[in-house]
């Protein structure tokens, strides 16, 4: 599995392609500390006002902050609004 990911990483690097196109990983976009967009997620693991945990292909991502809310959710992407303090990968 790790070998396959290395190969994809090399292909993406060789052809100068964005990593999320070739590799099965999440794409996380942060707008200041107000808005966070996660593409290619694997569902919601935990949803509280101060903490949201989302499943991603290589584990989980925990977002902590204040007054967090899921602005929209679809099979492809999740948009989180609120005062974002940290984004952390969990194994």
């Amino acid at each position: 599995m790790a070998g396959k990911r290395d190969l994809r990483s090399k292909v993406a690097s060789f052809f100068e392609l964005p990593g999320d196109v070739i590799m099965d990983v999440a794409r996380i976009s942060l707008v200041g500390d107000l808005e966070l967009l996660i593409e290619n997620h694997r569902g919601v693991a935990e949803y509280r006002q101060d903490r949201v945990v989302l499943g991603v292909p290589r584990g989980k991502v925990a977002i902590t902050g204040d007054a967090l809310s899921i602005s929209s959710i679809s099979p492809d992407q999740v948009l989180i609004l609120g005062k974002i303090r940290s984004v952390q990968y969990l194994d």
């Binding site: 569902g43 919601v44 949803y47 509280r48 809310s69 679809s74």
Partner: protein
């Protein structure tokens, strides 16, 4: 924005989810393809918005996550329609209101009359004459024949030179141009219009109809010289009984203005000097073309085909010939379609300098003179001599050419003169009655 509009049109619900696993509820809903937004979490429950059509698909989701779902709000167009259906009077009122607006906006409620100076006419008189032709307050705008109103005003009111009538919404505007006032003369005088020369020339022919000619064949006249003086006299050669386009002969007792009438033809010489360049630019297409399709939303261009180049209005060539076609949805009243498709095709050209022979330069000068003569000469005027072009000066890249020509033109031009004393008509002799 579009998504919000669609959800508004299709309707959406605000739901409250309690109990069970709320995260599992979210994941199952997403797996079912249900779009959720504005998801708020509190300690006890979660609130979210869903499309109206997806509500019944939530039942297996709620069962699977052991949650209870309640509707807390209904929003969007379908709910407005259902609420309005229960209030027929409101619908009827809205329809009556719309019908009233349509009815009221189709009528003329304001009539504005503008009159140019000297404004001897009364606005109320103009309104009354317009009303005779069908333009009055409260009339349906579609029933007003604007051309007929204009004609009627011009026919009925002698003081009007011309009139324009237009309808703008519920307002009709009548613009009146009054005839210029005649010069004021005393009771025993008549206005006078002489004929003067409008160009310098040699008189060739004088055909007087009314008045006293002061020039004869062979005379040299300057611009502004008097040709025919106004007088209560007709040429004895015989004035036609009806001469088209001329006023009726003045009568001594009622004449207020006396106009000299005559045809005066003269030979007029023209000379013009032009410097004609000896090189001309020839444009040759290179074969390269660039096409661009631009969709314009108001003034914002969206390029559908082709590229936006920084220079030359989006065309990648330094010199080019452009053909432009614009397609629009048209217009209605004061509405214009905000969307239009502009198809621009540019053909690259190369400019090349070419030297032209002297004969061609002379021909060009003659053509320019002929073009000017077409503007200067009237329908009865004629060119007497062929256009002669002579080279006067010669530069490295130009030729100074003088073109001369002689024409036979009518040169008489009316000009107001001093008022004319009206002679007292001879009174019939009365014999004393003898007792």
């Amino acid at each position: 924005m579009l998504k919000r509009l669609i959800t508004y049109l299709l309707g959406h619900l605000r739901i409250e989810v309690r109990g069970g696993s709320l995260e599992r509820f979210l994941n199952l809903a997403v797996a079912q393809g249900i779009y959720l937004w504005d998801i708020e979490r509190t300690e006890l429950h979660m609130r979210a918005s869903i499309p109206l059509g997806d509500f019944w698909a939530l039942r297996p989701v709620a069962r699977g996550s052991h949650c209870r779902v309640r509707i807390r709000g209904r929003y969007g167009f379908p709910f407005i329609v259902s609420r309005t259906k229960r209030r027929p009077a409101l619908i009827a009122g809205a329809l009556v209101c719309l019908a009233f607006i349509f009815w009221a906006s189709g009528h003329v409620w304001i009539i504005k009359v503008t009159i140019t100076p000297p404004q001897n006419l009364d606005r109320r008189a103009v309104e009354a004459v317009a009303a005779e032709a069908g333009l009055r307050r409260g009339v349906w705008a579609g029933n007003v024949d604007l051309k007929r109103v204009e004609q009627h005003i011009q026919e009925r009111m002698g003081e009007v030179s011309w009139a324009i009538v237009r309808v703008q919404g519920t307002r009709a505007v009548i613009e009146i141009v009054e005839k210029a006032a005649l010069p004021r003369v005393q009771a025993d005088q008549a206005g006078c219009v002489n004929l003067v020369a409008r160009k310098q020339g040699v008189v060739e022919q004088v055909i007087p109809f009314q008045g006293e000619p002061v020039v004869k064949q062979g005379d040299i006249v300057q611009e502004g010289d008097l040709l025919v003086e106004c007088a209560f006299k007709y040429w004895e050669g015989g004035r036609p009984a009806v001469f088209p386009g001329t006023p009726l002969p003045p009568r001594l007792d009622v004449a207020r203005i006396v106009v000299a009438q005559a045809i005066v033809r003269a030979r007029v010489a023209y000379q013009k000097y032009w410097e004609v360049p000896l090189t001309q630019e020839v444009l040759e297409p290179t074969g390269r073309t660039a096409t661009r399709w631009v969709l314009k939303w108001r003034d914002k261009p969206i390029i559908l085909r082709g590229e936006q180049y920084p220079s030359q209005d989006g065309v990648p060539f330094a010199r080019y010939r452009e053909s432009r076609r614009t397609y629009s949805l048209g217009s209605w009243r004061n509405w214009r379609s905000p969307v239009e498709l502009v198809m621009v095709s540019a053909e690259e050209v190369n400019a090349r300098k070419e030297r032209i022979p002297q004969a061609r330069a002379l021909e060009q000068a003659r053509e320019r003179m002929a073009a000017q003569l077409r503007w200067l000469l009237g329908p009865s005027d004629q060119v007497l001599t062929p256009l002669s072009a002579k080279v006067e000066t010669q530069g490295p890249d130009f030729l100074g050419i003088r073109v001369s020509v002689e024409t036979l033109e009518e040169i008489a031009w009316p000009r107001a003169g001093e008022p004319l004393p009206v002679p007292v008509p001879p009174q019939p002799e009365t014999n004393p009655v003898r007792p």
